[in-house]
Protein backbone atom coordinates (compact mmCIF):
# COMPACT_ATOMS: atom_id res chain seq x y z
CA UNK A 1 0.00 0.00 0.00
CA UNK A 2 1.34 3.43 -0.88
CA UNK A 3 0.14 6.23 1.29
CA UNK A 4 -0.29 8.71 -1.50
CA UNK A 5 -2.57 6.31 -3.36
CA UNK A 6 -5.22 6.67 -0.67
CA UNK A 7 -8.03 9.13 -1.10
CA UNK A 8 -8.08 12.24 1.04
CA UNK A 9 -10.86 10.83 3.21
CA UNK A 10 -8.86 7.72 3.88
CA UNK A 11 -5.85 9.82 4.76
CA UNK A 12 -8.09 11.77 7.09
CA UNK A 13 -9.00 8.55 8.90
CA UNK A 14 -5.36 7.77 9.52
CA UNK A 15 -4.74 11.33 10.62
CA UNK A 16 -7.61 11.18 13.12
CA UNK A 17 -6.40 7.84 14.41
CA UNK A 18 -2.96 9.33 14.99
CA UNK A 19 -4.61 12.15 16.92
CA UNK A 20 -6.44 9.60 19.06
CA UNK A 21 -3.07 8.17 19.96
CA UNK A 22 -1.83 11.63 20.86
CA UNK A 23 -4.80 12.23 23.14
CA UNK A 24 -4.05 9.06 25.03
CA UNK A 25 -0.51 10.34 25.65
CA UNK A 26 -2.02 13.62 26.78
CA UNK A 27 -4.35 11.74 29.11
CA UNK A 28 -1.42 9.90 30.62
CA UNK A 29 0.51 13.07 31.37
CA UNK A 30 -2.21 15.61 32.06
CA UNK A 31 -1.88 16.85 35.62
CA UNK A 32 -5.12 18.79 35.94
CA UNK A 33 -8.09 16.55 36.49
CA UNK A 34 -10.59 18.72 34.64
CA UNK A 35 -8.29 19.04 31.65
CA UNK A 36 -7.84 15.28 31.66
CA UNK A 37 -11.60 14.87 31.41
CA UNK A 38 -11.61 17.30 28.48
CA UNK A 39 -8.85 15.36 26.79
CA UNK A 40 -10.89 12.21 27.25
CA UNK A 41 -13.93 13.88 25.71
CA UNK A 42 -11.81 14.89 22.73
CA UNK A 43 -10.57 11.36 22.41
CA UNK A 44 -14.12 10.11 22.31
CA UNK A 45 -15.03 12.70 19.69
CA UNK A 46 -12.02 11.71 17.58
CA UNK A 47 -12.91 8.03 17.80
CA UNK A 48 -16.43 8.89 16.72
CA UNK A 49 -15.01 10.98 13.88
CA UNK A 50 -12.89 8.04 12.75
CA UNK A 51 -15.99 5.89 12.78
CA UNK A 52 -17.97 8.37 10.71
CA UNK A 53 -15.25 8.78 8.12
CA UNK A 54 -14.73 5.03 7.88
CA UNK A 55 -18.49 4.69 7.44
CA UNK A 56 -18.35 7.24 4.66
CA UNK A 57 -15.47 5.56 2.84
CA UNK A 58 -16.74 2.02 3.21
CA UNK A 59 -20.48 2.81 2.91
CA UNK A 60 -21.35 0.67 5.92
CA UNK A 61 -24.45 2.18 7.41
CA UNK A 62 -24.41 0.52 10.78
CA UNK A 63 -21.12 2.30 11.49
CA UNK A 64 -22.97 5.62 11.45
CA UNK A 65 -25.07 4.31 14.28
CA UNK A 66 -22.14 3.10 16.33
CA UNK A 67 -20.33 6.36 15.64
CA UNK A 68 -23.28 8.30 16.97
CA UNK A 69 -23.44 6.00 19.97
CA UNK A 70 -19.76 6.62 20.69
CA UNK A 71 -20.14 10.34 20.30
CA UNK A 72 -23.06 10.38 22.66
CA UNK A 73 -21.53 8.08 25.23
CA UNK A 74 -17.81 8.78 25.18
CA UNK A 75 -17.67 12.39 24.12
CA UNK A 76 -20.71 13.78 25.87
CA UNK A 77 -22.40 11.63 28.49
CA UNK A 78 -19.43 10.11 30.34
CA UNK A 79 -17.37 13.33 30.40
CA UNK A 80 -20.44 15.16 31.64
CA UNK A 81 -20.98 12.59 34.38
CA UNK A 82 -17.34 12.80 35.39
CA UNK A 83 -17.52 16.57 35.43
CA UNK A 84 -20.51 16.50 37.68
CA UNK A 85 -18.87 13.98 39.96
CA UNK A 86 -15.67 15.98 40.27
CA UNK A 87 -17.69 19.04 41.15
CA UNK A 88 -19.67 17.18 43.75
CA UNK A 89 -16.49 15.65 45.14
CA UNK A 90 -14.87 19.11 45.07
CA UNK A 91 -12.05 17.85 42.92
CA UNK A 92 -12.35 20.40 40.11
CA UNK A 93 -9.07 22.01 41.08
CA UNK A 94 -7.27 18.76 41.65
CA UNK A 95 -3.77 18.68 40.19
CA UNK A 96 -1.46 15.72 40.40
CA UNK A 97 1.39 15.22 38.01
CA UNK A 98 3.26 12.06 37.21
CA UNK A 99 6.25 11.14 39.32
CA UNK A 100 8.68 10.47 36.51
CA UNK A 101 7.07 11.95 33.43
CA UNK A 102 9.92 11.35 30.99
CA UNK A 103 10.33 7.72 32.00
CA UNK A 104 6.62 6.99 31.82
CA UNK A 105 6.31 8.75 28.48
CA UNK A 106 9.12 6.61 27.14
CA UNK A 107 7.32 3.56 28.50
CA UNK A 108 4.25 4.67 26.59
CA UNK A 109 6.29 5.11 23.41
CA UNK A 110 7.68 1.65 24.00
CA UNK A 111 4.10 0.41 24.23
CA UNK A 112 3.39 1.86 20.80
CA UNK A 113 6.42 0.12 19.33
CA UNK A 114 5.47 -3.08 21.12
CA UNK A 115 1.93 -3.08 19.85
CA UNK A 116 3.11 -2.39 16.33
CA UNK A 117 5.50 -5.31 16.59
CA UNK A 118 2.69 -7.45 17.92
CA UNK A 119 0.22 -6.81 15.13
CA UNK A 120 2.75 -6.50 12.34
CA UNK A 121 2.37 -10.07 11.08
CA UNK A 122 -1.36 -9.54 11.06
CA UNK A 123 -1.53 -6.28 9.17
CA UNK A 124 1.03 -7.32 6.64
CA UNK A 125 -1.41 -9.66 5.02
CA UNK A 126 -4.17 -7.18 4.47
CA UNK A 127 -4.72 -4.51 1.92
CA UNK A 128 -7.48 -2.49 3.53
CA UNK A 129 -6.16 0.82 4.71
CA UNK A 130 -7.65 0.75 8.19
CA UNK A 131 -5.62 -2.30 9.15
CA UNK A 132 -2.77 -0.10 10.24
CA UNK A 133 -4.99 1.48 12.83
CA UNK A 134 -5.13 -1.80 14.74
CA UNK A 135 -1.63 -1.07 15.99
CA UNK A 136 -2.74 2.40 17.06
CA UNK A 137 -5.77 1.06 18.87
CA UNK A 138 -3.73 -1.56 20.67
CA UNK A 139 -1.38 1.21 21.79
CA UNK A 140 -4.32 3.28 23.01
CA UNK A 141 -5.41 0.21 24.95
CA UNK A 142 -1.99 -0.31 26.49
CA UNK A 143 -1.45 3.36 27.27
CA UNK A 144 -4.82 3.36 29.00
CA UNK A 145 -3.46 0.47 31.02
CA UNK A 146 -0.34 2.50 31.84
CA UNK A 147 -2.57 5.38 32.95
CA UNK A 148 -4.36 3.07 35.31
CA UNK A 149 -1.08 1.75 36.68
CA UNK A 150 0.81 5.00 37.11
CA UNK A 151 -1.92 7.40 38.11
CA UNK A 152 -3.09 7.00 41.66
CA UNK A 153 -6.17 9.11 41.46
CA UNK A 154 -9.40 7.18 41.17
CA UNK A 155 -11.03 9.49 38.62
CA UNK A 156 -7.96 9.40 36.39
CA UNK A 157 -7.90 5.62 36.66
CA UNK A 158 -11.44 5.58 35.42
CA UNK A 159 -10.40 7.82 32.55
CA UNK A 160 -7.69 5.31 31.75
CA UNK A 161 -10.25 2.52 31.83
CA UNK A 162 -12.58 4.39 29.53
CA UNK A 163 -9.75 5.23 27.18
CA UNK A 164 -9.00 1.51 26.99
CA UNK A 165 -12.57 1.07 25.85
CA UNK A 166 -11.96 3.73 23.24
CA UNK A 167 -8.97 1.77 22.01
CA UNK A 168 -11.10 -1.37 21.81
CA UNK A 169 -13.77 0.41 19.86
CA UNK A 170 -11.20 1.82 17.50
CA UNK A 171 -9.85 -1.68 17.01
CA UNK A 172 -13.30 -2.99 16.23
CA UNK A 173 -13.92 -0.20 13.74
CA UNK A 174 -10.58 -0.43 12.03
CA UNK A 175 -10.05 -4.17 11.94
CA UNK A 176 -13.56 -5.39 11.31
CA UNK A 177 -15.69 -2.33 10.49
CA UNK A 178 -17.47 -2.68 13.79
CA UNK A 179 -18.74 -5.62 15.78
CA UNK A 180 -22.22 -7.06 15.28
CA UNK A 181 -24.89 -4.68 16.51
CA UNK A 182 -25.98 -6.76 19.50
CA UNK A 183 -22.42 -6.92 20.79
CA UNK A 184 -21.85 -3.23 20.31
CA UNK A 185 -25.01 -2.37 22.20
CA UNK A 186 -24.07 -4.77 24.95
CA UNK A 187 -20.61 -3.27 25.28
CA UNK A 188 -22.03 0.25 25.36
CA UNK A 189 -24.47 -0.82 28.05
CA UNK A 190 -21.69 -2.38 30.10
CA UNK A 191 -19.60 0.77 29.78
CA UNK A 192 -22.48 2.93 30.91
CA UNK A 193 -23.26 0.71 33.89
CA UNK A 194 -19.57 0.62 34.76
CA UNK A 195 -19.52 4.41 34.73
CA UNK A 196 -22.48 4.62 37.08
CA UNK A 197 -20.84 2.11 39.41
CA UNK A 198 -17.57 4.03 39.28
CA UNK A 199 -19.52 7.08 40.39
CA UNK A 200 -20.93 5.13 43.33
CA UNK A 201 -17.45 3.94 44.21
CA UNK A 202 -15.94 7.42 44.20
CA UNK A 203 -18.21 8.26 47.09
CA UNK A 204 -17.60 4.97 48.85
CA UNK A 205 -13.84 5.39 48.56
CA UNK A 206 -13.92 8.93 49.78
CA UNK A 207 -16.11 7.89 52.66
CA UNK A 208 -13.63 5.22 53.69
CA UNK A 209 -10.26 6.93 53.18
CA UNK A 210 -11.30 10.57 52.93
CA UNK A 211 -9.51 10.96 49.60
CA UNK A 212 -9.61 9.58 46.10
CA UNK A 213 -5.94 8.75 46.10
CA UNK A 214 -6.23 5.01 45.66
CA UNK A 215 -2.62 4.56 46.67
CA UNK A 216 -3.95 4.80 50.19
CA UNK A 217 -6.09 1.75 49.62
CA UNK A 218 -3.47 -0.54 51.03
CA UNK A 219 -5.06 -2.43 53.84
CA UNK A 220 -5.37 -5.67 51.98
CA UNK A 221 -1.86 -6.87 51.35
CA UNK A 222 -0.21 -10.10 52.25
CA UNK A 223 2.49 -8.35 54.28
CA UNK A 224 0.09 -6.36 56.43
CA UNK A 225 -1.68 -9.50 57.35
CA UNK A 226 1.56 -11.06 58.43
CA UNK A 227 1.97 -8.31 60.96
CA UNK A 228 -1.39 -9.00 62.57
Amino acid sequence: MIFTSLSLLQQLVLMLAALVLFTSFALLAQARLVSAIHVFAWQGALVAAVTFVVAMTSHSHHLYFSGALTLLLKALLIPWMLHRLTRRLELDRHVQSLDRPALIMMAAVAMVVFSYWLVLPMIQQEQIFTRNIVAISLSVLLIGLLTMVFRQQAVVQVLGFMSMENGLFLAAVSATSGMPMVVELGVAFDVLVAMVLFGVFFFQIRESIDSLDVDRLNRLTETVEDGN
Binding site: A18, L19, L21, N132
Partner: protein, 321 residues
Protein backbone atom coordinates in the same frame (compact mmCIF):
# COMPACT_ATOMS: atom_id res chain seq x y z
CA UNK B 1 27.37 34.35 -22.39
CA UNK B 2 27.61 30.64 -21.59
CA UNK B 3 29.90 31.54 -18.82
CA UNK B 4 27.36 33.97 -17.47
CA UNK B 5 24.55 31.41 -17.67
CA UNK B 6 26.62 28.98 -15.67
CA UNK B 7 27.30 31.61 -13.14
CA UNK B 8 23.74 32.87 -12.89
CA UNK B 9 22.47 30.15 -10.53
CA UNK B 10 25.42 30.74 -8.25
CA UNK B 11 24.62 34.40 -8.30
CA UNK B 12 21.04 33.59 -7.38
CA UNK B 13 22.26 31.39 -4.54
CA UNK B 14 24.37 34.26 -3.28
CA UNK B 15 21.41 36.59 -3.62
CA UNK B 16 19.27 34.18 -1.65
CA UNK B 17 21.85 34.07 1.13
CA UNK B 18 21.94 37.87 1.17
CA UNK B 19 18.18 37.87 1.27
CA UNK B 20 18.32 35.81 4.48
CA UNK B 21 20.59 38.39 6.06
CA UNK B 22 18.32 41.17 4.89
CA UNK B 23 15.08 39.52 5.94
CA UNK B 24 16.31 38.79 9.48
CA UNK B 25 15.82 42.27 10.98
CA UNK B 26 12.66 42.74 8.97
CA UNK B 27 10.96 39.70 10.46
CA UNK B 28 11.95 40.71 13.99
CA UNK B 29 10.68 44.23 13.35
CA UNK B 30 7.40 42.81 12.02
CA UNK B 31 6.90 40.55 15.02
CA UNK B 32 7.58 43.44 17.40
CA UNK B 33 5.20 45.68 15.50
CA UNK B 34 2.35 43.16 15.54
CA UNK B 35 2.96 42.46 19.19
CA UNK B 36 2.87 46.14 20.01
CA UNK B 37 -0.38 46.53 18.13
CA UNK B 38 -1.88 43.58 19.97
CA UNK B 39 -0.90 45.22 23.24
CA UNK B 40 -2.49 48.51 22.16
CA UNK B 41 0.84 50.22 21.65
CA UNK B 42 1.93 51.94 18.50
CA UNK B 43 5.37 50.33 18.59
CA UNK B 44 8.59 51.10 16.80
CA UNK B 45 8.61 51.18 13.00
CA UNK B 46 9.21 47.88 11.26
CA UNK B 47 12.65 48.93 10.11
CA UNK B 48 13.81 49.75 13.64
CA UNK B 49 16.02 46.60 13.88
CA UNK B 50 17.97 47.81 10.85
CA UNK B 51 18.58 51.13 12.56
CA UNK B 52 19.70 49.38 15.73
CA UNK B 53 22.14 47.24 13.82
CA UNK B 54 23.45 50.27 11.96
CA UNK B 55 24.02 52.08 15.21
CA UNK B 56 25.74 49.13 16.81
CA UNK B 57 28.09 48.72 13.87
CA UNK B 58 29.08 52.39 14.10
CA UNK B 59 29.95 52.11 17.78
CA UNK B 60 33.24 51.16 19.31
CA UNK B 61 33.51 47.56 20.50
CA UNK B 62 34.72 47.33 24.11
CA UNK B 63 36.20 44.10 25.32
CA UNK B 64 36.70 43.03 28.90
CA UNK B 65 40.28 42.65 30.20
CA UNK B 66 39.74 39.04 31.07
CA UNK B 67 38.47 38.15 27.61
CA UNK B 68 40.37 35.63 25.51
CA UNK B 69 40.74 35.70 21.72
CA UNK B 70 37.75 33.36 21.56
CA UNK B 71 35.64 36.22 22.82
CA UNK B 72 36.71 38.45 19.91
CA UNK B 73 36.39 35.84 17.18
CA UNK B 74 33.16 34.26 18.41
CA UNK B 75 30.74 36.84 16.95
CA UNK B 76 32.17 36.26 13.48
CA UNK B 77 32.06 32.49 13.85
CA UNK B 78 28.50 32.55 15.21
CA UNK B 79 27.31 34.89 12.49
CA UNK B 80 28.95 33.02 9.64
CA UNK B 81 27.84 29.63 10.90
CA UNK B 82 24.24 30.77 11.31
CA UNK B 83 24.25 32.50 7.98
CA UNK B 84 25.69 29.47 6.23
CA UNK B 85 23.13 27.27 7.90
CA UNK B 86 20.40 29.60 6.67
CA UNK B 87 21.82 29.68 3.17
CA UNK B 88 21.38 25.91 2.87
CA UNK B 89 17.62 26.12 3.28
CA UNK B 90 15.70 26.76 0.06
CA UNK B 91 14.12 30.17 0.48
CA UNK B 92 12.89 31.31 -2.91
CA UNK B 93 13.89 28.51 -5.25
CA UNK B 94 14.64 24.82 -4.82
CA UNK B 95 17.10 23.88 -7.53
CA UNK B 96 19.90 26.31 -6.81
CA UNK B 97 23.46 25.00 -6.78
CA UNK B 98 23.50 25.28 -3.00
CA UNK B 99 20.79 22.62 -2.92
CA UNK B 100 23.54 20.03 -3.08
CA UNK B 101 24.77 21.02 0.36
CA UNK B 102 21.29 21.76 1.74
CA UNK B 103 21.42 18.75 4.01
CA UNK B 104 19.52 18.53 7.27
CA UNK B 105 22.48 17.02 9.08
CA UNK B 106 24.74 19.82 7.89
CA UNK B 107 22.15 22.34 9.00
CA UNK B 108 21.96 20.90 12.48
CA UNK B 109 25.74 20.71 12.63
CA UNK B 110 26.22 24.35 11.68
CA UNK B 111 23.67 25.46 14.22
CA UNK B 112 25.38 23.37 16.86
CA UNK B 113 28.69 25.02 15.99
CA UNK B 114 27.17 28.46 16.46
CA UNK B 115 25.61 27.42 19.73
CA UNK B 116 28.87 25.94 20.97
CA UNK B 117 30.67 29.23 20.48
CA UNK B 118 27.81 31.17 21.95
CA UNK B 119 27.94 29.12 25.12
CA UNK B 120 31.74 29.34 25.16
CA UNK B 121 31.78 33.13 25.14
CA UNK B 122 29.09 33.16 27.76
CA UNK B 123 31.58 31.55 30.09
CA UNK B 124 34.69 33.21 28.67
CA UNK B 125 34.63 36.47 30.58
CA UNK B 126 33.80 34.74 33.79
CA UNK B 127 30.76 36.71 34.87
CA UNK B 128 28.03 34.96 36.76
CA UNK B 129 25.28 35.72 34.29
CA UNK B 130 27.25 34.57 31.29
CA UNK B 131 27.90 31.17 32.81
CA UNK B 132 24.31 30.86 33.90
CA UNK B 133 23.05 31.71 30.45
CA UNK B 134 25.47 29.27 28.86
CA UNK B 135 24.38 26.43 31.09
CA UNK B 136 20.71 27.14 30.42
CA UNK B 137 21.32 27.40 26.70
CA UNK B 138 22.99 24.01 26.74
CA UNK B 139 20.10 22.55 28.74
CA UNK B 140 17.60 23.81 26.22
CA UNK B 141 19.58 22.69 23.24
CA UNK B 142 20.33 19.29 24.71
CA UNK B 143 16.60 18.72 24.95
CA UNK B 144 15.61 20.46 21.74
CA UNK B 145 18.15 18.94 19.41
CA UNK B 146 16.96 15.31 19.63
CA UNK B 147 13.40 16.50 19.14
CA UNK B 148 14.39 18.43 16.06
CA UNK B 149 16.41 15.57 14.64
CA UNK B 150 13.61 13.07 15.15
CA UNK B 151 11.05 15.41 13.62
CA UNK B 152 13.27 16.05 10.66
CA UNK B 153 13.98 12.37 10.22
CA UNK B 154 10.33 11.54 9.91
CA UNK B 155 10.18 14.09 7.09
CA UNK B 156 13.32 12.70 5.54
CA UNK B 157 11.94 9.17 5.70
CA UNK B 158 8.91 10.26 3.75
CA UNK B 159 10.99 11.92 1.06
CA UNK B 160 13.74 9.27 1.21
CA UNK B 161 16.36 11.98 1.45
CA UNK B 162 17.93 14.22 4.06
CA UNK B 163 18.39 16.90 1.46
CA UNK B 164 16.08 19.79 2.19
CA UNK B 165 15.66 20.76 -1.43
CA UNK B 166 14.55 17.26 -2.37
CA UNK B 167 12.24 17.08 0.66
CA UNK B 168 10.56 20.28 -0.48
CA UNK B 169 10.33 19.12 -4.09
CA UNK B 170 8.96 15.76 -3.03
CA UNK B 171 6.12 17.44 -1.20
CA UNK B 172 5.43 19.81 -4.04
CA UNK B 173 5.18 16.91 -6.44
CA UNK B 174 2.97 14.71 -4.26
CA UNK B 175 0.32 17.41 -3.89
CA UNK B 176 -1.99 17.69 -0.90
CA UNK B 177 -1.47 14.64 1.28
CA UNK B 178 -2.75 14.47 4.86
CA UNK B 179 0.10 12.81 6.62
CA UNK B 180 -0.26 12.25 10.37
CA UNK B 181 3.52 12.25 10.66
CA UNK B 182 3.64 15.76 9.21
CA UNK B 183 1.14 17.04 11.69
CA UNK B 184 3.19 15.75 14.59
CA UNK B 185 6.49 16.84 13.06
CA UNK B 186 5.06 20.31 12.53
CA UNK B 187 3.98 20.48 16.16
CA UNK B 188 7.33 19.21 17.35
CA UNK B 189 9.31 21.58 15.14
CA UNK B 190 7.22 24.57 16.17
CA UNK B 191 8.00 23.92 19.81
CA UNK B 192 11.67 23.38 19.04
CA UNK B 193 11.77 26.58 17.03
CA UNK B 194 10.26 28.54 19.91
CA UNK B 195 12.87 27.16 22.27
CA UNK B 196 15.82 27.51 19.92
CA UNK B 197 15.10 31.06 18.86
CA UNK B 198 14.58 32.10 22.45
CA UNK B 199 10.95 33.12 22.22
CA UNK B 200 8.18 33.02 24.81
CA UNK B 201 7.41 30.70 26.61
CA UNK B 202 11.00 29.48 26.87
CA UNK B 203 12.90 32.75 26.87
CA UNK B 204 11.81 36.35 26.56
CA UNK B 205 13.74 38.31 23.94
CA UNK B 206 12.39 41.61 25.19
CA UNK B 207 13.80 41.60 28.72
CA UNK B 208 17.10 41.40 30.50
CA UNK B 209 15.64 40.03 33.68
CA UNK B 210 18.49 38.30 35.52
CA UNK B 211 16.68 35.29 36.76
CA UNK B 212 14.95 34.27 33.57
CA UNK B 213 17.05 35.28 30.60
CA UNK B 214 18.93 32.70 28.59
CA UNK B 215 20.11 34.11 25.31
CA UNK B 216 20.61 37.69 26.47
CA UNK B 217 22.64 36.55 29.46
CA UNK B 218 25.39 35.28 27.22
CA UNK B 219 25.65 38.53 25.28
CA UNK B 220 25.82 40.87 28.27
CA UNK B 221 29.54 41.58 27.86
CA UNK B 222 29.33 42.40 24.16
CA UNK B 223 29.13 45.86 22.69
CA UNK B 224 29.43 47.61 19.36
CA UNK B 225 29.85 45.54 16.21
CA UNK B 226 30.30 42.34 18.20
CA UNK B 227 26.91 42.77 19.73
CA UNK B 228 25.52 43.78 16.35
CA UNK B 229 26.76 40.57 14.76
CA UNK B 230 25.37 38.46 17.56
CA UNK B 231 21.99 40.13 17.35
CA UNK B 232 21.95 39.81 13.60
CA UNK B 233 22.80 36.12 13.88
CA UNK B 234 19.88 35.65 16.25
CA UNK B 235 17.57 37.41 13.80
CA UNK B 236 18.77 35.24 10.94
CA UNK B 237 18.14 32.19 13.10
CA UNK B 238 14.53 33.24 13.51
CA UNK B 239 14.14 33.54 9.74
CA UNK B 240 15.91 30.22 9.36
CA UNK B 241 13.46 28.36 11.56
CA UNK B 242 10.54 30.20 10.05
CA UNK B 243 11.60 29.29 6.54
CA UNK B 244 12.32 25.71 7.53
CA UNK B 245 8.79 25.33 8.86
CA UNK B 246 6.86 27.14 6.15
CA UNK B 247 8.82 25.78 3.23
CA UNK B 248 8.73 22.17 4.36
CA UNK B 249 5.13 22.01 5.50
CA UNK B 250 3.61 24.54 3.12
CA UNK B 251 6.00 24.55 0.18
CA UNK B 252 3.51 25.92 -2.35
CA UNK B 253 4.75 28.92 -4.26
CA UNK B 254 8.46 28.20 -4.09
CA UNK B 255 10.21 28.54 -7.46
CA UNK B 256 11.10 25.24 -9.08
CA UNK B 257 12.67 26.85 -12.14
CA UNK B 258 14.93 29.86 -12.39
CA UNK B 259 12.71 32.04 -14.59
CA UNK B 260 12.10 35.60 -13.39
CA UNK B 261 8.36 35.01 -13.03
CA UNK B 262 8.81 31.91 -10.90
CA UNK B 263 11.42 33.67 -8.80
CA UNK B 264 9.14 36.64 -8.32
CA UNK B 265 6.28 34.40 -7.26
CA UNK B 266 8.63 32.52 -4.97
CA UNK B 267 9.81 35.70 -3.32
CA UNK B 268 6.28 37.00 -2.83
CA UNK B 269 5.19 33.61 -1.49
CA UNK B 270 7.96 33.32 1.06
CA UNK B 271 7.53 36.90 2.25
CA UNK B 272 3.78 36.36 2.69
CA UNK B 273 4.28 33.08 4.49
CA UNK B 274 6.89 34.56 6.81
CA UNK B 275 4.65 37.55 7.54
CA UNK B 276 1.79 35.22 8.48
CA UNK B 277 4.06 33.08 10.63
CA UNK B 278 5.50 36.20 12.28
CA UNK B 279 2.03 37.46 13.08
CA UNK B 280 1.10 34.07 14.51
CA UNK B 281 4.24 34.16 16.63
CA UNK B 282 3.33 37.59 17.91
CA UNK B 283 -0.16 36.41 18.82
CA UNK B 284 1.24 33.35 20.60
CA UNK B 285 3.71 35.48 22.54
CA UNK B 286 0.96 37.82 23.59
CA UNK B 287 -1.30 35.01 24.75
CA UNK B 288 1.25 32.78 26.42
CA UNK B 289 3.19 33.52 29.57
CA UNK B 290 6.82 32.72 30.01
CA UNK B 291 7.22 29.48 31.90
CA UNK B 292 9.56 28.73 34.74
CA UNK B 293 12.92 27.40 33.65
CA UNK B 294 12.24 24.06 35.29
CA UNK B 295 9.14 23.65 33.20
CA UNK B 296 11.15 24.05 30.02
CA UNK B 297 12.21 20.44 30.13
CA UNK B 298 8.55 19.38 30.17
CA UNK B 299 7.88 21.70 27.24
CA UNK B 300 10.71 20.22 25.24
CA UNK B 301 9.77 16.70 26.26
CA UNK B 302 6.43 17.41 24.67
CA UNK B 303 8.16 18.42 21.47
CA UNK B 304 10.27 15.26 21.59
CA UNK B 305 7.13 13.24 22.17
CA UNK B 306 5.41 14.88 19.22
CA UNK B 307 8.38 14.19 17.02
CA UNK B 308 8.54 10.59 18.17
CA UNK B 309 4.84 10.18 17.51
CA UNK B 310 5.43 11.63 14.09
CA UNK B 311 8.13 9.07 13.41
CA UNK B 312 6.01 6.24 14.78
CA UNK B 313 2.89 7.22 12.92
CA UNK B 314 4.96 7.47 9.77
CA UNK B 315 6.18 3.93 10.28
CA UNK B 316 2.89 2.49 11.47
CA UNK B 317 0.34 4.32 9.39
CA UNK B 318 2.15 5.36 6.26
CA UNK B 319 4.63 2.60 5.54
CA UNK B 320 3.48 -0.55 7.31
CA UNK B 321 0.82 -2.02 5.17
Amino acid sequence: MDHFLNMAPWGLALLQALLYAALGPLLVGWVRKVKARLQNRRGAPIIQPYRDLWKLFAKEARVAHTASPVFRSAPYIVFVATWLAAATIPLVATNLPTAAIADIIALVGLLALARFFLALVGMDVGTAFGGMGASREMLVSALAEPAMLVAVFSLAMTAHSTNLASVVEYHLNSGLVLRPSFLFALGGLLLVALAETGRIPVDNPATHLELTMIHEAMLLEYSGRHLGLMEWAAQIKLVLYGTLIVNIFFPWGIAQSLTPVALGVGLAAIVTKLLILGAALAVAETVLAKMRLFRVSAFLNLSLLLSLLGLLSHIILEVGA
